[in-house]
Symmetry: C2
Subunit: 218 residues, 2 copies
C-alpha cells in the first residue's frame, strides 16, 4: 500500500474522504476541503478538475483500503469463518457507538446520496460493495461444511451486506444501537438455524420442508 505519487493529492483525498463521511457529499463544499487540507484551489483543480473527480478518487481509495484497513484487523484476530463475518458487523457497531450513531457505512451513505446520478461513482460504489460481499463469500466458503448445501453462498453473502446496510440506516435514524443489535441478533439466529440444519442433517433444503411461493425473477 505504498502508492503516494503526491502528498497534496493524498491529503485532498483523505480530507474529502473524512468530510464526505462525516457530513455527506453534497454538504461538503470545495472551500471546506481546501481549508481543512491546507491546499490552494490551483492544486485542487490540477489534480481534480471537478468535485466528482475527487469523489471517484475517494471511492478508489476505499476499494484499496478494504482488505488492509477493514478486513485484515478483524480476520487476523478471529479464526472461525462465520465469526469473522460477525466480527465485521461488530466493526460497524463500534463505529456507530463511537460516533453516537451519526456515522454509518461510508459507502452506503454515498450510495444513497448520489444514487440518482454520477454513473462512474455508482460503478465504484458497486465495486466497493462487491469487494465486501466477496470477502464475506470467502468466509462462507470456508464454512462450507457447516451450511446447508442448497443455500447459495453468494446470495447469503449479499444478504449479510443487505442486513448491515439496513441496520446501520435504522440505527442512524433512531439514534440508537438497538435496531442494529436487533438485526444482528436475528441474523445470528438465521445462521444458527443454517448451521444446525447444515451440520446435523446433511443440509436439507428449506424448500423440502414447506411449499414456497415462487417470486418471479429475471
Amino acid at each position: 500500500m505504498k502508492l503516494r505519487p503526491d502528498n497534496t493529492r493524498d491529503r485532498l483525498i483523505d480530507t474529502a474522504m473524512e468530510l464526505f463521511h462525516s457530513q455527506g457529499y453534497q454538504a461538503t463544499g470545495v472551500a471546506q476541503i481546501l481549508k481543512k487540507a491546507e491546499v490552494n484551489s490551483g492544486s485542487l483543480y490540477y489534480f481534480f478538475p471537478t468535485k466528482e473527480d475527487l469523489l471517484l478518487a475517494v471511492l478508489e481509495k476505499y476499494k484499496l483500503m478494504l482488505h488492509p484497513a477493514l478486513l485484515e484487523p478483524i480476520w487476523s484476530r478471529i479464526d472461525d469463518p462465520i465469526e469473522k463475518v460477525f466480527g465485521l458487523l461488530d466493526g460497524y457497531r463500534r463505529l456507530l457507538m463511537m460516533t453516537e450513531c451519526n456515522y454509518g457505512c461510508p459507502i452506503g451513505n454515498l450510495a444513497l446520496e448520489i444514487g440518482h446520478s454520477h454513473a462512474k461513482a455508482r460503478q465504484l460504489l458497486a465495486d466497493n460493495f462487491k469487494g465486501w460481499r466477496d470477502a464475506v463469500h470467502e468466509c462462507l466458503n470456508a464454512a462450507d461444511d457447516r451450511l446447508p448445501s442448497d443455500v447459495d453462498r453468494a446470495q447469503l453473502a449479499s444478504f449479510v451486506l443487505t442486513v448491515m446496510e439496513g441496520a446501520v440506516m435504522q440505527a442512524r435514524t433512531e439514534r440508537s444501537l438497538k435496531p442494529f443489535d436487533d438485526a444482528v441478533t436475528q441474523l445470528r439466529d438465521y445462521f444458527d438455524r443454517l448451521t444446525a440444519d447444515g451440520t446435523q442433517w446433511g443440509a436439507p433444503a428449506a424448500s423440502e420442508l414447506k411449499p414456497r411461493i415462487n417470486t418471479d425473477k429475471e
Copy 2:
C-alpha cells in the same frame, strides 16, 4: 382520511412529497415546488415558513398514508399473515421495477439524506418506521403458532424492515433488481426455516434442532 383544510396546502405537500422522493430533499428547491404546485411564494410561506416545515408535513402525511395507501391494498388481497409480509416487500420491488431501480423507499431515502440534523424530521421518520414495523409485527402475531416461541416477534419485524431498506439500497446502487430479489429469497429461506421449526417441534431453539419431517402445510 378527509382532512383537507386547504387545497393549496395539500397541493404543496403532495408536490413536495413527489419531488423529495424522486430527486431528494436537498436537491429540491423551493422554486421548483412552487412552479410544479402552481402556488405563489406568499402562500407557501404562509403555510410553511421553512422548507423543513414542509418536510415535516410530508412525513406526517406518510404516517397517515401507511395503512390506507400502502398496507390495505396488500392486506385486502392476501390472507396469509406471512405472505402479507412478502406481499409488502413485493410492493417495493414493483416500485423499483417501475422506476428502473431509481426510486427506493421514500422514508429510507429521507432517513439517510437528513440523518445528521433535523431532529423533528428524524423523529417523524422514526415514527414512520415504527408504523411499518408494527404492521409487520401484527402479521407475525397472527402467524404466532407457526413461529418458534423463542423468536422475538418485534425483533423479527424490525429485521424485515432492515432487510427491505438494505435491499432497496443495493438495488438502487447496482441499478438492478437482483440484490433485492436475492435478499428476499434469503429472507424467505429464513422464514421457511423458522416456520418449519416453529410448526413441527413446538418451537425449539435453533440449538435444539431435531430431525424434521417433510410436510406440506397451508
